[in-house]
């Protein structure tokens, strides 16, 4: 039976992962992600799971790696600086082809930043914050409902491609309380057989060992090639985005997360005035939805990218557009007002409509 709950979106993340079959959550307190662990510490034991509070994000992410080795899908949740500490193990899990689900309740940087919500970790999330040629699948839901809807998909991606999957939600959205309708509980993790690779003891398989470095140069080359092929496949098949009124648009507004959510209202109010504004909201940040930009119509004169940072995704939009149309940027971060308002977005889009 479906159930509608009134929750903070951090709690919606926790509720979604529990409903979708995740039974272990490793975490360390950090604002504004802490509500996830408060929720799972209470709710996971009721379904036979547990929240394991570790002594640091380093320990969290490595325990998560150890858990994943056994062929089980665990989760973690953190925010900006916590994610920075986790990068080492995330790279390790990517290289070791170990799946997990993570939440970055994105907050402002650089350094330790502030607890204010932001989208400052776009680069870190999409480029692989650790060393080496690896990527992590990044999903950017814009509300609690979308978190709930993307969770089964995230689990599927993690277990299909054997890779960490990261949900990035800005801290503002994470702290919003709204209604979310959840599907009936279903263990999506059980749909995947991990017995061919999991480290579960040699009773039913010959010895397995996980090396994330290369023991020989040849093996290292082979491993990197295998990773490259996997990332090409993900890029080809797993791009997701939502778009509004693109077909005849003169100005396209591109934003993810909370700004992406605001685009609906923005486009509607422009269209009510007969002005041809459309929008694209990337849902996967990696792979970036290049396909959304491949066929933008000739009517598009310019693109406005709106972010809660000083311009990070705008680079990917420029790469996707490849010089065909001018790409402009509007962004804000830090301070008490970390985001662009609808009025800011309206003003900038209007200027572009007028050809300024």
């Amino acid at each position: 039976m479906k159930e509608t709950l009134f929750l903070k979106n951090t709690e919606a993340f926790a509720e979604s992962m529990i409903r979708c079959g995740i039974r272990c959550h490793f975490a360390y307190p950090i604002t504004p992600a802490t509500d996830v662990m408060k929720y799972t510490s209470r709710m996971l034991p009721e379904v036979g799971g547990r929240m394991v509070q570790m002594e640091s994000e380093l320990a969290v992410s490595n325990a998560l790696a150890g858990y994943a080795c056994a062929g089980k899908l665990g989760a973690t949740s953190s925010s900006g600086p916590g994610m920075t500490l986790m990068q080492e193990a995330i790279g390790f899990m990517a290289a070791g082809e170990l799946p997990c689900i993570m939440l970055d309740a994105m907050r402002v940087g650089p350094g330790d930043g502030d607890i204010i919500g932001a989208q400052s970790t776009y680069y870190q999330a999409t480029r692989g914050g650790g060393h080496g040629d690896y990527r992590v699948i990044v999903l950017a839901p814009s509300c609690g409902q979308e978190i709930a809807e993307l969770m089964p998909h995230g689990i599927k991606l993690a277990l299909t491609y054997l890779t960490p999957v990261l949900f990035v939600v800005d801290g503002v959205t994470c702290q919003m309380t709204e209604t979310t309708t959840f599907d009936e509980p279903y263990d999506y993790t059980a749909d995947f057989d991990t017995s061919s690779w999991a480290y579960t003891g040699t009773a039913d398989h010959p010895k397995r060992f996980l090396l994330t470095g290369s023991y020989t140069h040849e093996q290292g080359y082979e491993m990197n090639e295998r990773m490259r092929r996997k990332y090409v496949e993900i890029s080809e098949n797993e791009q997701m985005w939502e778009q509004e009124k693109v077909d005849d648009a003169e100005v396209l507004v591109v934003a993810f997360g909370i700004h992406g959510r605001m685009c609906k209202d923005l486009v509607e109010s422009f269209r009510a005035q007969g002005k041809r504004v459309g929008s694209i909201r990337p849902i996967t940040l990696w792979p970036f939805p290049n396909k959304a930009f491949e066929s933008i119509p000739a009517s598009v004169k310019s693109i406005l990218v709106v972010e809660m940072n000083h311009g990070q995704m705008v680079d990917d939009v420029r790469l996707a557009v490849n010089g065909r149309v001018p790409v402009h940027f509007l962004g804000k971060t830090g301070g008490d007002i970390p985001m662009c308002t609808l009025a800011d977005m309206t003003r900038e889009a209007s200027r572009l409509l007028e050809g300024e």
């Binding site: 490595n62 070791g96 010895k207 060992f209 470095g213």
Partner: protein, 253 residues
């Protein structure tokens, strides 16, 4: 005729030469771990989590599932594995650099958490794999590539006594410092390693064994001299002893 394989069974692999330098104490400690696993009959449900450094290759010689964890983080990885597989046996095999420098944080919290896992720290008082730099356990006066005039405690601090730091922790069920510098000590080390695994199987708590071991290469000494140095100099600072043994209590029950 009895072969080595007859004696060590399936756990210790003989099909390749080890990467340890001739005379390295790691060879002995790895064998002791293999003997323990074999004699306890737990091979098929045992998982090794190894650290970075020469000891990181130990799993190449053991027929158990294994992973190489990131620098120092093996105890956290072992905890995650134990949460997933509580009925399995998981042990970390780490050097002194991995355990007491970059991984001190993880090992201390693992000890204090008291989850039944087994951690073996092979302490040769030097960073072996990276070419003989000063480690937290380098003894006063010991010359290394980064303490070229010998470790000066006023500049470099004192050697870190890891089991002594754990002694007061209630989560620790078995705690010992052993060595492999001579036959008698090797026999005692064998017993402690066995106890550290038994402790886990009985679910009593965290078990830790520090094994003082010579690194002839890092010490720039011949094998006999390296053993003599460890026996005299290193052991003068790191006294072998059993700090804690909850097995005794559990056996009484």
């Amino acid at each position: 005729m009895q072969t080595l394989a007859d004696y060590y069974g399936e756990t210790l692999k003989f099909d390749k030469l080890t990467s340890y330098c001739p005379g390295c104490g790691h060879g002995i400690v790895t064998r002791l771990v293999a003997e323990t696993i074999e004699s306890m009959g737990i091979r098929e449900k045992t998982m090794s989590v190894v650290g970075i450094g020469c000891g990181g290759f130990s799993h190449h010689y053991l027929e158990v599932d294994a992973i190489e964890a990131i620098h120092g983080r093996a105890p956290a990885t072992a905890i995650g594995y134990k949460v997933a597989m509580p009925d399995h046996v998981v042990f970390t095999y780490q050097g002194d650099g991995d355990t007491s420098a970059i991984g001190l944080h993880e090992i201390m919290h693992a000890a204090n958490r008291g989850m039944p896992i087994t951690c073996i720290m092979v302490n040769n008082s030097v960073f072996g794999m990276t070419g003989g730099q000063m480690s937290p356990t380098t003894i006063p006066g010991q010359v290394t590539t980064t303490s070229t005039k010998g470790r000066d405690v006023h500049i470099h601090g004192y050697p870190l006594l890891v089991p002594e730091m754990m002694r007061a922790m209630k989560g620790v069920a078995y705690l010992a410092r052993e060595t492999v510098v001579d036959v008698k000590s090797i026999n005692r080390a064998a017993k402690s390693i066995r106890n550290a695994f038994e402790c886990q199987v009985k679910g009593l708590g965290f078990a830790f064994v520090e094994v003082i071991s010579p690194c002839p290469t890092g010490l720039h000494l011949s094998v006999p001299d390296a053993y003599a140095y460890a026996a005299k100099e290193t052991l003068s600072y790191f006294k072998p002893q059993i700090f804690k043994n909850e097995l005794e209590k559990s056996d009484e029950v």
